[in-house]
Amino acid sequence: MYIYDKFDHAITSERVAEFSQQVTRRLAGELSEDQFRPLRLMNGLYLQLHAYMLRVAIPYGTLSTKQLRKLADIAKKYDRDYGHFTTRQNLQYNWIKLEQVPEILAELGSVEMHANQTSGNCIRNVTADQFAGVAGDEVEDPRIISEVIRQWSTFHPEFSFLPRKFKFAVTGAAKDRAAIQFHDIGIHIVKNDAGEIGYAVYVGGGMGRTPVVAPLIKPFVARHELLSYLEACLRVYNMHGRRDNIYKARIKILVRDLGPVEYARQVEEMWPLTRASGVDVPAAEVARIQAFFAPPVYETIKEPVAAFEESKKRDKAFANWVKNNVHPHKVPGYGAVTISLKPIGGIPGDASSAQMHQIADLSDKYSLGEVRVTHVQNLVLPNVKQADLFAVWQRLGEIGFAESNIGLITDIIACPGLDYCSLANARSIAIAQRLSEHFADVDRQHDIGSLQIKISGCINACGHHHAGHIGILGVDRAGQELYQLTLGGAGDETASIGTLIGPGFTSDDVVGAIDKVVETYRGLRQNAGETFIEAYRRVGPAPFKEALYGRR
């Protein structure tokens, strides 16, 4: 993990002091709400329906157990004893008092954490593959360049008042687990023909009102030139992005309006200017950061591990959990465990203080003290010995997080929706809970196979509904919650945007409608191995439309 030096500590504590005096000035009336809002947003603080919400950054989704315990303690001391892990690999507290925020930020700073730029029209928390460093299909650990970007984007003087928010995602693997093409900039770490590591840069993806799969703007940027290239990308956007209409202000609209070729040309034209400014960090600095992500010391273990194989044979529930929740590790004898924060009927992504402490204890005992957050709102123990998996699974059962549903129909993404969010039009969590209960049967879930349901409570699409195999969008129709279905979205390396299938369903009817979609798929799949998304791409929307609305 990256460890702060005196400079990082100084910058973090100076930030706390700065925000502390900004809060004081706001409470004293020196700053109006209009003036204060962008400042508080850049410190992760929103006003929601019931209280302020504080969004804490978990850079590229990596946490130490010390940090996780601090998050738990803050939840207990300043909030209502729980936190919500988000699709941006962050953590949100829902019941925060403005006057206590400086104190909370100071507590976060004590464990090298912050809430910098988790909101506002600036560069947000960089997200990355949750299996960084342990995935077998990786060119390079994405956290190295993510940390370089985190530092470069922190309090960037030029890019803190952009037309709109700006999100980066990085993957170093062939399999895209970070949905990079749905980000303002997606970075794919690649090797060129000469064997050098560099970056393929996708620009102008996003969800929201206008979902766009980002086009490839530059197939290869050399490592030592990435930041100047990114500055050129950002500056073209900052100068020419639209500021007249909030719904057209994201970079995806600029790239779409200019066309990817013209946008790329303007970036090329700007690049020499940013290069000349010397913004690229020295190689020694990248090497310094890289050293923090050196692999831990692993034991040499021969597979198969007898006790592990034995447990799988003996216990079908454990075998199911291993099949769905344990990802292959690049080191023999290890596995990466995804802890499902999707218990049947639970609130996706929520964990209590006690649960956070218990997971921290588990990681210290079994996973070299590291925890990851996934953009699907689950947690990961990245380094568990196969021989320990059974014990980990049993302990997770005691905590309430042993559901073996990763990638299955009950592993639902849901935004906070109208239960918390001031932008929402409809509830999301309640729908996720009812769907989870409806599809609770483990055998049925396994029979349905890989199927991602993603729910957003408004068009801003924080629940990634556009990228769901089945997407659910909550809307307000004359004061009633109504749910529209989209089919065929995907957030991986085959990224696609779901198609709206027809008129929406009431809250009472939406679960039944999803059931019809699922049964239609089961009826038409060519074999048990054809997944929902494969089948949908083969047959298109027609059979699903017919099942939902009858023949027209």
């Binding site: 910058i11 530092q151 003087p157 900052n238 600095e285």
Partner: protein, 169 residues
């Protein structure tokens, strides 16, 4: 209206000239960019010092020929959230090597001024009653930062590897 720099209020010797108003001989005047383009010869010969006011949609390559002779550039943004100001400042300093006074004008708050200073601005046009204490505190909020920018100090990415600390702000 007042003019401040990083330390507080400063005397403002500049007079804003309407487009139909002739400059007094030797005067220190700010003109519109349109007027500068049309009348630069007479302006530079009549006035003592010439400054120009530009907005976010400026084409810097059109401004470039006049840069060596300008004594002030006022960049005006009517909305504090319009961040084009920051890019314009950096480009003028870093790429066009503009060296004289550069002033940000508009609906600014003290908390933005450190960033403006780092992007190369040297003075600010603010409303009367602007909180000077907050300005002084805000521009001194940070000792270090991560980016190599215009006239910023050496960034930590270089200090970590033995570069000397220096420069302002």
């Amino acid at each position: 209206m007042a003019v401040v720099d990083r330390a507080g209020p400063i005397a403002d010797s500049w007079t804003r000239l309407a487009d139909d108003q002739a400059p007094a001989a030797g005067a220190t005047v700010i003109v519109s960019f349109a007027r500068l383009k049309n009348e630069h010869n007479s302006l530079f010969s009549a006035a003592g010092k010439v400054g120009v006011e530009i907005a976010g949609d400026v084409k810097l390559e059109e401004l470039e020929p006049f840069l060596p002779r300008l004594g002030l550039i006022v960049v005006r943004m009517n909305n504090m959230r319009d961040g084009r100001l920051f890019s314009i400042g950096r480009m003028l300093r870093e790429n066009y090597k503009y060296a004289a006074d550069m002033r940000a004008a508009g609906d600014l708050i003290p908390d933005q001024m450190l960033y403006l200073l780092r992007c190369g601005f040297t003075s600010f046009e603010v409303k009367d009653g602007f909180p000077i204490d907050s300005l002084r505190r805000s521009v001194a909020a940070y000792t270090h930062w991560y980016q190599r920018i215009a006239n910023s100090a050496t960034p930590v990415t270089e200090l970590r590897h033995g570069a000397a600390h220096g420069g302002e702000p």
